[in-house]
């Protein structure tokens, strides 16, 4: 077994999930089975193969330009309300489970 109970607890903590005891048992089983399958990637020698984070920098760009110059079309002036108006206050707060007139409200962060 690659993943242990302790790993599940650690990763759940990183992911801001609590998980019930049952869910943790299931997660332990599923993660081990999936990761075992994923280990087949180790059959491939990837020395000197560059990682690929996205496709946008490889296709549909002007190859004569270098680096970020290729993406000049995607940048804009650094100004407030450059592409659209900011959401009005009440619209931005409308979906909040708890808010007052100005702010999102959350449980107390600092104990004193």
């Amino acid at each position: 077994m690659k993943v242990t109970d302790k790993d599940v607890a650690y990763v759940a903590d990183l992911a801001n999930l609590e998980l019930t005891a049952d869910e943790r048992t299931g997660m332990l089983r599923d993660l081990n089975s999936i990761l075992e399958y994923m280990d087949r990637l180790n059959e491939l020698d990837t020395t000197n193969v560059p990682p690929m984070a996205q496709v946008s920098d490889r296709y549909g760009v002007d190859e004569s330009k270098a680096g970020s110059e290729r993406f000049a079309y995607a940048s804009r002036e650094d100004v407030v309300e450059g592409l659209r108006k900011s959401l009005p206050h009440e619209e931005a707060l409308a979906n909040a489970p708890d808010a007052d007139e100005d702010f999102f409200r959350v449980p107390k962060v600092i104990e004193r």
């Binding site: 990183l14 801001n16 999930l17 609590e18 399958y37 984070a53 496709v55 959350v106």
Partner: protein, 487 residues
């Protein structure tokens, strides 16, 4: 011959296409209002057992229909989708209209803005009937992961419609919408299209703006149409494609006239067939159907060329590492503060985050967040995430190499026809393996289309997948159209 006879008191909406609908409204043989009402009546009658729609937007639809009808009455030419009833997968934001992503955590979320693709559809005259069911956050291959209810395949109600755009495919297959929009991260447009017997097009990465699409895996997410014909897919793509300043990943590449390109001959075109896509695990009936589709194109003058995509067996692990890693980051935003559901009775901020996410996310979403977080965590980043990114390069190079020799590649869309509800839902890995032929195109960023190519002995639809070069949707649409016209 006019394929559809439309009058306001007796409407036939079966197999209704964009041009037939728009032309009938333009010629005043029917109205956009009557067409919308006819589709709502169909939804009312059929959707109780199918489950494709999550939310209906009648007010919005009738307002738009009225606008189109006034244009028609004044004799103004209707825009390309004028009065055409459409459905939108519930991962695309719609201003003032509930958008859930199939999740409890967004069950009452009302977006303050429209997704660009939806806005472009409506600007072209489309009538949005409602929002379509899907796997939670588009994570799944059967639509059984919807937090609300599963979708059933209109062709056989004991079967899944595929996923994650299962509602989008089922709605088109059951004539509850003329066309729908779906999203594809690992096959979520093409596989349900194959399972339900409709056309599903995933455009090139960057071809269609994702502004307003609820993010799953940002380097893999695409928006595209599900339709009854290849031509309709071309019309919708033309409508939604093109640079959008609101999405920095939308490409600055000219959009061709896909509809004009459709009719060009396929004679002399080089079509690749990769042995890796016909290996173990491919159902015999699917194999036969795809092989006879290849023969059909050969008889139309296409040259069939064997190609090799040697890293295909590594696509599933590569995809599920990258997609879950990106998802774990994208789904961190659901914290119960700004727009998602919050757990009750929590005392501290940390408890609020955890319990809100625990209660709001379903099992598959939690599994993927855990997997992705693990793959990105200290000590495992190089072994999983970085390794997968390198293999992604190899998979992409396979396609670069193949497309030096051919114009398009033909494969099955899915190794089997639609499976039964519950058949794979207890075994996540077996569900992941159902995506074997579709994840490669997402990883490489190339376009792909699935079109119907026959059916099994049990009358289940089979899908033919056509993959193309970056930004060359024209060619795959042309091949798909040629095949569709030939059968």
């Amino acid at each position: 011959m006019d394929p559809i006879s439309l009058t306001t008191d007796s409407l036939t909406i079966d197999s209704l296409t964009i041009d037939a609908a728009r032309t009938a409204i333009q010629q005043r043989k029917t109205t956009a209002l009557a067409l919308a009402e006819a589709h709502y009546a169909r939804i009312q009658k059929e959707d109780g057992q199918i489950g494709a729609f999550l939310t209906l937007s009648k007010e919005r639809a009738l307002e738009q229909a009225d606008r189109i009808d006034r244009m028609a009455a004044e004799g103004k030419p209707l825009p390309p989708l004028g009065g055409v009833p459409v459905g939108i997968k519930d991962v695309m934001s719609t201003r003032g209209l509930r958008t859930t992503a199939g999740s409890k955590i967004l069950e009452s979320y009302i977006p303050p803005y429209d997704c660009t693709a939806v806005a472009r559809m409506e600007a072209a005259g489309a009538v949005v009937l409602g929002k379509l069911n899907c796997d939670e956050f588009a994570m799944g291959s059967s639509t059984e992961n919807s937090a609300f209810h599963p979708v059933r395949n209109p062709r056989d109600l004991s079967r899944v419609p595929g996923g994650s755009s299962g509602g989008s495919a089922a709605a088109v297959a059951a004539d509850m919408a003329v066309v729908t929009l779906g999203s594809d991260t690992g096959g979520s447009i093409r596989q349900p299209a194959a399972f339900c017997g409709v056309v599903g097009l995933m455009p090139t990465y960057g071809r269609v703006s994702r502004y307003g699409l609820i993010a799953f895996a940002s380097s893999l997410d695409h928006i595209g149409p599900l339709t009854k014909t290849v031509k309709d897919a071309a019309i919708v793509l033309k409508t939604i494609a093109g640079r959008d300043p609101m999405d920095a990943t939308s490409a600055d590449v000219p959009v061709p006239d896909y509809i004009a390109e459709l009719e060009k001959p396929v004679r002399g075109m080089k079509i690749g067939v990769a042995t890796e896509y016909f290996a173990d695990g491919l159902d015999d009936e699917v194999r036969q159907a795809v092989e006879s589709a290849i023969d059909k194109l050969k008889s139309q003058g296409c040259e069939i060329v064997p190609v090799s995509l040697p890293h295909t067996p590594y696509a599933i692990p590569t995809y599920y590492i990258i997609a879950t890693a990106e998802a774990s980051a994208n789904l961190a935003r659901y914290d119960g503060v700004r727009y998602s559901r919050r757990a009750q009775g929590v005392k501290t901020l940390s408890e609020m985050y955890r319990r809100s996410r625990d209660e709001g996310f379903g099992a598959e979403v939690k599994r993927r967040i855990m997997l992705g977080t693990y793959a990105l965590s200290a000590g495992y980043y190089d072994a999983y995430y970085l390794k997968a990114q390198k293999v992604r390069t190899l998979l992409t190079r396979d396609f670069d190499e193949a497309f030096r020799k051919v114009d398009a590649i033909l494969t099955p869309t899915s190794p089997t026809a639609a499976f039964r509800l519950g058949e794979k839902s207890n075994d996540p890995l077996s569900m992941y393996l159902a995506d074997i032929y579709t994840v490669t195109a997402d990883l490489a960023g190339i376009p792909g289309i699935s079109i119907p190519c026959g059916q099994t002995k049990e009358n289940l639809p089979i899908g033919l997948q056509i993959l193309g070069k970056h930004f060359d949707e024209s060619t795959i649409l042309r091949v798909a159209h040629a095949y569709e016209q030939a059968v």
